[in-house]
Each structure stands twice: as structure tokens, then as C-alpha cells.
């Protein structure tokens, strides 16, 4: 895919040593625009460039609008005051106001280019995360294969998935989509990249160092929102997640907690929250897909008029080849999870579905699984 020649872009970007364009302090206009500082080095760079551009623009804007208002007042049309003769052009002046802003733009371009290369190329040896976007959630795989299942309520939203990162660490993201184009945007890091089916994209950043303001009752961490920025369908606006930067020790512990608990129901529930909760509820409400409450063992009626009892094989087929049988009243919207979910997890999901179905005899104690999913935050024991 690479042309025989390729310009040495990185060399070009480093040809002029990067200079910090403005001091990094979130006050004044910078606070109005961004509220907080950029959280990574390259984000600070971006803020600086933005503010530089802002003042550059403001200078010309105020100049032009000032002249406009002033001249509109002093040259307003008044009865009995004849108009004046005035020049119709002035070549030196015109050259001046062409050249001066143009050179300013050259500077802005080059600073932007330097910041771009800085964001795009991850440091060698960085912690590499595989991010898969799908309708409508992100799946993040850690180098040891761990996937996240922890969710929190944040910013007025339930079921926001949390992905932990160690503080002060180089991270490299590799992005791939399972269906349509998404974009992985971390506003605090001032960086986004489109996520494509059948093509890897990615970028790198260095996670921030935690400060005293990051001590919370439940632990030491700082949250950063992730949004999907490329329009991808019905729940595009719900496709959010949180990157939680925490001390390295906490991160190691967190990673360990994400592993198997030994109980297929709990593991299945974790798979549910990480991959299925966007479209399927467990409280009986209808969403994009059918609710899982009392699904297992019930009789499913399909669009083509046939029906079937939901057993293990049916559920497995529905996960791997979802459009084979469409339940009456639903659209064939789900994409295949072949290659996304492994057999163990399918078994765990089935165990979880059994545990919330009245068509299956529950164990004597009954773990109270029927309760609303909003209280799910306790499952992982924060951090």
C-alpha cells in the first residue's frame, strides 16, 4: 500500500525544534474555550496553537470591525453632505495585506503539522491497546487479552464503560471497526482518529501524571471521556466510554480484577455489560434488540412466521449469525460477533441468560439477578 517513495515527514516535522507556543494555563479565554488544560503534552501543544490562532484572528477581526464601525459612523449619509472622492485601489497596500496574513498562516500550518506528527506517531514500547468500535460501543483489549466489563454512572449517564490506564505512561491505540466508520475522540487529549472496518488506524499519547486533586473517596484516579465523533447510527450519541487514569499499582490490580471470577454467571454478566448492554436490556424493556429477561427457554416467534424455543444452540447462532432468524418486531440490525467473542464467553453469556430467566429453575438461594441493571456499578468494586 505504500508508494515506492514517501516523504520523510517525521524528519520534516522535526526540522525545526518544536517550541511551546503559549504558556499552559487554563485561564482567560483558554478557560472559556476548553475549561481545563489539555491533559497530555500534545494536547497542551494543541491548546497553545489554538490560542495563538485565536489571538492572530482576534487582531485582524478587531482591526477590521473597528474600521467598519468607525467609518460607518463618520461617513454615514447625511442630507446635504456630498460624497467624497476616494481612491479605488492602492497596489502597495493590497500587496501588504496579502503578504502579512499569508506569512502568519504559514507559521500556523507548520506548528499544526508538528503537533500532528507528535500525536500520530506513538512512542516505541508503548502500552498497546486494541480498540474495536462496533455499533454502538468500544471494546478495548489489553496486551494480556483482558477486556473491560466495569461500568459507572457519569455525567448523567448510566452504563458508561470504564477502561483503566496507568498514569504517566506512553500508550498506543490501534483502532479497528466491526461495521461502519466510527471515530475515537478523547477531548481531554485533544485527539481523535476515524475507525474503519478492514483498516487499522491509531495514535499515541502519554497519560497525565495524577495530582492531589485526583484523590477520591473510592481511590485515586482521573476520568477522561471518550466519544464517538463519526456519525454511526441510532445510538451514535450513546457511544461513550471513560478512560480512567490511575496509579500503576491500582492499574495492575484493576487489570487482575477484570479476569475470570470463576463463576460463569458473573463472567457472563460482565460480557453482557461490555458488549451487549447497548442494545439489549435485562429488565424487560424493548431496545434495539429483544430484552434478555426471561428470554432463555421462551418460545421465539420470527419474522418469517416460524418459531423456536430459545436454547443454547439458538443463542449461539443468534450471536454468531444474528440475521439468520429475526424475532418478530425487530430489525436485522445486529452484526455478527464471530471473531469478537470467544466460546467461553458465549457459554458465560448463556449462563447469565439462564440466571435471569423464569423459564429456568433458579438455584435455591437465587442471587437476586433480576434487579435493575443500573446498580451494576458495585460489581467490580471501584478501581
Amino acid at each position: 500500500m505504500t508508494m515506492p517513495f514517501s516523504l520523510p515527514l517525521t524528519t520534516l516535522a522535526n526540522a525545526v525544534p518544536p517550541v511551546r507556543v503559549l504558556p499552559n494555563n487554563a485561564d482567560g479565554f483558554q478557560e472559556i474555550f476548553f475549561r481545563t488544560n489539555g491533559q497530555t503534552d500534545s494536547a497542551v501543544w494543541t491548546d497553545g496553537l489554538f490560542m495563538l490562532t485565536f489571538w492572530f484572528s482576534t487582531f485582524f477581526f478587531v482591526l477590521l470591525m473597528g474600521l467598519l464601525v468607525y467609518w460607518c459612523i463618520i461617513y454615514r449619509r447625511r442630507p446635504g453632505v456630498p460624497q467624497k472622492i476616494s481612491p479605488s485601489h492602492n497596489t502597495p497596500l493590497e500587496i501588504l495585506w496579502t503578504v502579512v496574513p499569508s506569512s502568519g498562516m504559514l507559521v500556523i500550518f507548520f506548528l499544526g503539522f508538528q503537533g500532528y506528527m507528535d500525536k500520530l506517531v506513538p512512542a516505541s514500547g508503548a502500552l498497546q491497546l486494541e480498540v474495536t468500535g462496533f455499533k454502538w460501543d468500544w471494546k478495548v483489549s489489553y496486551p494480556d487479552g483482558t477486556q473491560t466489563g466495569q461500568t459507572v454512572t457519569l455525567g448523567g449517564r448510566n452504563d458508561i464503560k470504564v477502561h483503566a490506564l496507568p498514569e504517566d505512561t506512553e500508550v498506543s491505540l490501534r483502532l479497528l471497526s466491526n461495521d461502519v466508520i466510527h471515530a475515537f475522540w478523547i477531548p481531554d487529549f485533544r485527539m481523535k482518529m476515524d475507525v474503519f472496518p478492514n483498516r487499522y488506524t491509531g495514535y499515541g499519547f502519554r497519560t497525565p501524571v495524577l495530582g492531589p486533586e485526583d484523590d477520591h473517596p473510592e481511590g485515586r484516579y482521573r476520568d477522561h471521556w471518550v466519544f464517538c465523533a463519526e456519525y454511526c447510527g441510532d445510538l451514535h450519541s450513546e457511544m461513550a466510554a471513560v478512560l480512567r487514569v490511575m496509579p500503576r499499582a491500582d492499574y495492575e490490580q484493576w487489570l487482575k480484577d477484570q479476569g475470570s471470577s470463576g463463576d460463569p454467571v458473573i463472567d457472563g454478566k460482565r460480557v453482557y455489560s461490555s458488549m451487549c448492554a447497548t442494545c439489549h436490556t435485562v429488565n424487560g424493556a424493548k431496545n434495539i434488540g429483544p430484552s434478555w429477561m426471561n428470554l432463555y427457554g421462551s418460545t421465539r416467534e420470527f419474522e418469517d412466521g416460524t418459531s423456536q424455543i430459545a436454547d443454547d444452540n439458538y443463542i449461539r447462532e443468534s450471536i454468531l449469525n444474528p440475521n439468520a432468524k429475526i424475532v418478530k418486531g425487530f430489525q436485522p440490525q445486529m452484526t455478527s460477533y464471530q471473531g469478537v467473542i470467544n466460546d467461553t464467553d458465549i457459554a458465560n453469556v448463556i449462563a447469565y441468560m439462564k440466571s435471569i430467566s423464569e423459564h429456568v429453575e433458579q438455584p435455591a438461594e437465587g442471587e437476586g439477578e433480576g434487579e435493575a441493571p443500573a446498580s451494576e456499578t458495585d460489581a467490580e468494586g471501584e478501581g
Binding site: R76, I108, F113
Partner: protein, 580 residues
Amino acid sequence: MTTAETTHDHHDEGSYLTPKYGVMGTIWDWMTTVDHKKIGVMYLFAVLFMFFLGGVAALAVRLELLEPVRVAADGTITGQLFGPANPESIATGNNIFNRLFTLHGAIMVFMFIIPSVPAALGNFFLPLMLGAKDVAFPRLNLFSWYIYVVGSLFGVFSIILGGVDTGWTFYTPYSTTTDADHWRVLLMVLAAFVLGFSSILTGLNFIVTTHKLRAPGMGWFDMPLFIWAIYATSIIQVLATPVIGITLLLLIFERLFKVGIFDPALGGDPVLYQHFFWFYSHPVVYVMILPGMGIISEILSVHARKHIFGYRAIAFSSLGIAAVSFIVWGHHMFTAMGELASTIFSALTFLVAIPTAIKMFNWIATLYKGSIAINTPMLYALSFLFLFSIGGLTGLPLGALATDLHLHDSYFVVAHFHYTMMGGTVIAFLGGIHHWWPKMFGRMYNERAGMIGCVLVFIGFNLTFMTQFFLGTQGMPRRYASYIDEFQTLHVLSTYGSWILLAGFLVHLFNFIHSLVAGPKAPPNPWGGLTLEWETESPPIEHNFHHEVLVQHGPYDFDTVVPPHCDEREFPLPETPASH
């Protein structure tokens, strides 16, 4: 010597608006007319109707965003308005929202803003300003109007069938897979495809007209700047629109036959679609803005009674913008392209800023030592200068790579292009309508109402979209039906702004209706303009001019020429004798 003396020998020729053949006959006359003025008026009403449709969608979108809706039980405002099929489902509310913003985008871009100035005002005034009797191919002109109507009908049908949720950009593979069981996406794509032909034929017509039908004595640099702008626009229309034709055709093939060129499922490339799309759609933003710039040049010089500053610089910068527009489309795709292409496109993007800045400086300099009348067209022109410079300057962080990676697909972009498209084109369009309203319909509008409307539009617009810049930098992505709580304050302000905007438009609407019904009769040259359209009656006679036109002065020679049909006492020449 006086304006009353305008009628003479050829008074048998009535105004083009005079009905001649009874009611049905008049309707038939309009439907089959090849008169560019009638076609222009038909375009005007068609695009204003589309503006109304798109505006309703925009208001609904803003209404939905009044509060951050996040759980299924809440329902959504649009859901309550439009009656969702499954009130308990969060997806239904979002789905309606998605259809609304697509509707807004597709209608505003393809059916309103692209044909707005060139097809409506351009059709009416290009031949008049050139001193020609008609455009070069009058029947082709009528044909393109009908194509426009057919295309718009396709679009409207697709909305009636349930709307489209692809976004107006139709990005693959979403657009090739969504609503797979329905024809409406195809209908909407087909609508855009058909509308492209209308655009091409109009542009072709204008280029030939400008080349061949200039009045005797009118050299290239005696043309009004509005003509230059329309000419540059037409070049873009002719060169760029065929590419969207083939792109949408491929998209239709993709949906119908799954040919795979844009489909990663078959090894195709979705970014190739984006290249195809933006090769058209970037130049086309200059199709939208260039005619607006032309209008501003006219309004500023006439209402400041001032020779435009740097005529040639403005004329050439129009052509320059047209030329550069073909090599900067990649800045819509910095998050999707390879590094080399991004860098090159970023560098080239800043080239566009240069001719635009030149125009800006020249317009401001035109005001110097003018005789500035503050009326509705002038207020709109000043609003344009204010809003469009914000729109242009906020393009800088979007053109720079590092900042664009943050701002891309955020509300910052939304605000930026509304400042250029609406703060630029729509404001200029409204200014142009007011400027030429007496000429088109032969009646004056109420100046006070016009100015109130303009001020309302200006305030409402800034409140609506200024807030969105801050939303964007703080991290609000575009096309979101719901959002996190932190963004609510700004969203609420923005929605309130949209209501003020609505009030401003309603004032204009009533003003126009009042003017048509009971407005005072307009003189042939109410503003004292020097371009040729002011030399004929208001409204113009059917063949435009009573005599063969011979151009003997430039369009902006206010220093040396008393405007036609005007009293020397009201429009005195400067005290100092002109030195040519």
C-alpha cells in the same frame, strides 16, 4: 431629465409580471416561460420553500437538544412531538433526531443553498446586468428549473416515506447498509444526483451567457462583480458537479448491486468515497459562498455610493478561490487520510484563506470616505462582513492539523460552517433580496420592519452559533441526539437563539407579503445604482430593455456619473471634479 419620463415610444411592452392570458393562461404562461426573469422568480419561491422546510427541521433539532436525554424512560422531545413508534425505546427518539438533521442538511445544501443565489438571483440579474435580453439557452434554463423541481420532489418523497438517516454526506458504509429494506435512501441519493444536473446546466448557461451576450462596450473588467462571482461559481458547478454525479451513481450501484467499490466488505475503500464526495462538495461550498460575496460587492458599493476598492483584486480572487477550491478538499478528512496527504492538503488549505482575506480587506476599504446609507441591504452587508470574518477566521484552527484533530466533527465545525454558510450566504441572500426586491417586484418593502428583522436575525444567529464554538472546543461531538450534563447551559442558549432567529425570519416574511400586497410602487432606481439592471423599469419589461444597451461607464463610477433615473440633487456628484 426626471424619473417620471421613463415611459416612451415602446410602452406597448408591459412588465414581465403583467398577466396576459387570464388565470389559467397566466399559469400556463409561467410554467412554459423561457423568460429568465420568470424562471428566476420561480426559483426564488422554490428555494424559499425549501428553506422553510429545512428551517423547520433545524428548529426541531435545536428543540430536541434543549435537554440532555439519556435514559429510555425519559422519552425525547422529538419523540413526543412526532409520536415515536416505541415510546419506551431510546433508539426511536435518536432515530427521529438522525432523520431530522439529515433532512436539514440535505435540504439546506442540495435544495436551498446551492441554487439559492445563482439560480434565483443569478437567473434574474445576470442577463440584466450584462445588458442581454436573456440567457444564452432559455429553454435549457427552463429545463433546469424542472430538473430542480423533479429532484426536490424525489427528496420530499423520500422524507414522506420516512426520511433518511445517513447524514447529508452519505458516508459509506453506513449509507449503503442503513435502511437496507427501503427505497428512501436511494430516493434521496437520486434527488441529489438529479439536482446536480440542474446545477450543471445552470452553470453552463451562465458561462456561455457571460462570454457571448455582454452588451456592446462591456469588457471583462466592466462587468459588475456579481457577474464575476457568478461566473466563477459557474466554472465550479460545471467542473465539480459531474464528479458528484458519478459518485452518487456508484453509491446507488453500491446499494442496489453491492459492487464493492466503497464497501470494505468486498475490499473496497470507504475513504475513496469521501475523496469522491469532497472533490465535489468542497468546491461546492464556494458555489454557495461566492455568489454571496458578489452580492456584498454590489450592495456595499451602491449603498455606500462608492467605487469598489480593488476591483481587479476582487474579480481575480473570485477566480482564484474557484481554482484553489479544487485542491483543498482533503481538509474534510484529516482524521481519515494518510499522513502525507493530510500534510499537503493542510498546506494547500491555507491558500484559500488568501483570496478570501483580500476580498475582506477590499470590502472594508470600500467604506472609506463613502456616503453610507444605513438601510436593510446595507445592514445585511455589514452583518455579512462581521459574521463571515468570524466564519473565515475559525477556519484557521480547522485547517491546521494539530487543532483539527481535536475540532474535527465537533460542534466547532458546525458553528464554523454555519457562520460561513448561513452567516455568509444566507445573510447575503437576504441582503440581495432586499437590495433587488424593488427591481424584481416593482414595490418597496417597509424599511423599518426590514431593519428590525435584520437585527433580530443577527442577534439570534450569534446566540445560536457562537455558543456552539465553545461546545465544540469543550468536546461536544456533532450529530448527537443526547449529551452529557455539562453541555446543557450552552445548548439551551443556542436553542433560545434559534427562536430569535425564527422571529427575525417571520418579520421578513410578513414584510415581503405586505410589500407584495400593499407596498408603495418602486422607482426604477431607488438606490442610485449604476449597473445595467437599474436602467430599465421596475419591474423590468419583458425584453429587459427598451433599447439596445451600450455600456459607456463602469459599474461603480459613482464619482463621475449620476445614476440613471435619478435626480442630480439627491445623488450629487463629488465636489471635486473627477480626474480619470
